[in-house]
Symmetry: C2
């Protein structure tokens, strides 16, 4: 049989493991677990994510290399969200025997392409049979104890910084699902949106700038993987505070504004999810320095308040004041097709 | 609606997370990842396992508490196999919305029941929608560098120790699938086999005895989760050595010998899998002391040899010599129903 058409069942678990070992450092293969060193001064941070075929990805919008890249990016983003630098990931893979071996290799290639940008090895995993392709990633990182970024420590009067634009991932998804929507866009604009969806960048690059600017000041925050609105609400809920967000300060990618109306773009910016930016709360003076340093759409979008409500304001008076609630964020047990219609 | 009949879809991701938080230590909930301390002198060991409905468990033989117990036990056994003590696990759960909330809570109860025996917390996880129930566990442990048990360091002349009986888990599974097979067994014998299948004990208890007995001598080994035969073959392959195993020295549980013929019991002992004992290679004098200390079926089953073949011998001359190959072990992409027939 041609190697091109081999399925996982054709080569079996051992055959597949052998092929995937080329993606892992040699010295850690072959035992029941991986062995990692943790810098004695640092805390270990662990985060885990499960991605399911037909729920988090589909053949229509997500080739296997993209599934891999996004899975790696989502987990590295969770580490960045806590201020941690990655030291390794494990991959648990459940899949039907009829999946082509090439699909699995391309998935691993996608994982590795993303991980290599951040010097992070795949340190182990598990492969098993399942009717549904499921990719479970657990990522490990380390952080100095005083640098841990928590959701629960946001303080009234602090600025809310976002590290980049929002809504692009949701726009890219829409374009993949309905390519004709992009007929009036340039190829560059189309590619920019699709790239934002398929190859998101975990914002580990923000951390060295952040530490340099804030010194020993504690920073609160999380990532915006479930939506910018959701992140602000979660931070406020965990910190027992509220927030005032200025609509016009939310950076939206130009390519998204070329695709849809400003109002639709803002909705996707707030609730689209999977932009993998950081949402950080820190004193205004430090926030301003950080935003200038980062550029590329980084901005102060509002302020933490004492009153425990999250309010979307419009300083131009064009829109009425609006209150955000958690139910507008992404909920895994609702249908994916419902998500964008919550606030239409 | 009565709480008894609530499904996961009824209460949503946030509702389910809230219920499951009672199983996790309070101080680590609510962030993108868990924060753990690693003793500076120790190495971090990470292991991961994916369990799939219909492949690793089924409603017929595995109530949710058992799925949870076995998932925790399998991962703690992987840590024990490397000489590591557990410090925490993460749980990635993918499941259909129609699964009863009670099923998920009972799964977590089963996980926790096993974990509590070893002071190990659930430190985080992920929940998402999927057509197939999938439980992905990643476990973390620590080990002093000189105590790491590897598959690749077995030495010719060393004894092969198993820490307990084999075949009981396979016998228990058979009894659950075909209860009438046990009609001639006492209730105690039936319960013993089913308990062996449903609530296996990871052999973390072996480690303190092992360290006391071996001092600084390196120990090779792994666990027998994929079968005792498979473990010996894997160790030999990774170490570039062979082994001679004496059939009569493989301890089989009395309840299994009451259920099936001695020959069938031995086949299940060698290839049944999921007994979660340790298979350790160490000098004969230390091996004898360890076996005496452990009791309960622990035994020296053979010797590591220079010639790279694994041979099953019979010192009574009753059976002809037999060579083991890896293909007789558990392969996830073959049908489960085929497994026990490989050598029938």
């Amino acid at each position: 049989m041609s190697e091109l058409y081999q399925t996982v069942r054709d080569i079996g678990e051992q055959g597949l493991l052998k092929k995937l070992q080329s993606f892992c450092p040699r010295d850690i293969i072959g035992d029941d677990g991986a062995i990692l060193s943790v810098d004695p001064a640092q805390k270990l941070v662990v985060t885990t994510d499960v991605l399911v075929d037909g729920v988090h990805f589909s053949d229509r919008t997500t080739p296997p290399a993209t599934v891999g890249w996004r899975a790696a990016a989502a987990n590295l983003s969770d580490l960045a969200a806590m201020g941690a630098n990655p030291i390794g990931i494990t991959v648990g893979l459940a899949l039907p025997g009829e999946v082509p071996v090439n699909w699995v290799e391309t998935l691993y290639q996608g994982l590795n392409d993303c991980l290599q940008c951040y010097d992070t090895p795949i340190v182990g995993g598990d492969i098993c049979r399942s009717p549904t392709i499921t990719v479970s990633i657990t990522a490990f990182g380390t952080v100095l104890p005083h640098r841990i970024i928590r959701r629960s420590s946001a303080q009234p009067g602090h600025a809310i910084v976002v590290t980049g634009t929002h809504g692009g991932s949701r726009g890219g998804l829409e374009l993949l699902l309905n390519p004709q929507l992009g007929d009036h866009l340039t190829i560059t604009e189309q590619q920019a949106l699709i790239e934002t969806h398929q190859r998101p960048q975990p914002r580990l690059d923000v951390l060295p700038h952040l530490w340099e600017i804030v010194g020993t000041t504690e920073v609160a925050g999380m990532d915006s993987s479930d939506g910018l609105g959701d992140a602000v609400v979660q931070i406020c809920r965990m910190s027992g505070v509220g927030a005032k967000i200025e609509r016009s300060q939310i950076s939206l990618p130009p390519s998204l504004l070329a695709l849809v109306s400003p109002e639709q773009a803002l909705q996707w910016g707030l609730y689209g999810g999977e932009d993998f930016e950081l949402v950080l709360c820190l004193p205004f003076d430090l926030a301003k320095t950080l935003v200038e340093r980062l550029g590329n759409g980084a901005n102060i979008i509002g302020e933490i308040t004492t009153e425990p409500r999250v309010i979307l304001i419009d300083s131009n008076g064009k829109y009425s004041q609006q209150e955000l609630s958690l139910t507008q964020g992404f909920q895994h047990f609702t249908s994916v097709s419902d998500i964008s219609h919550d606030l239409d």
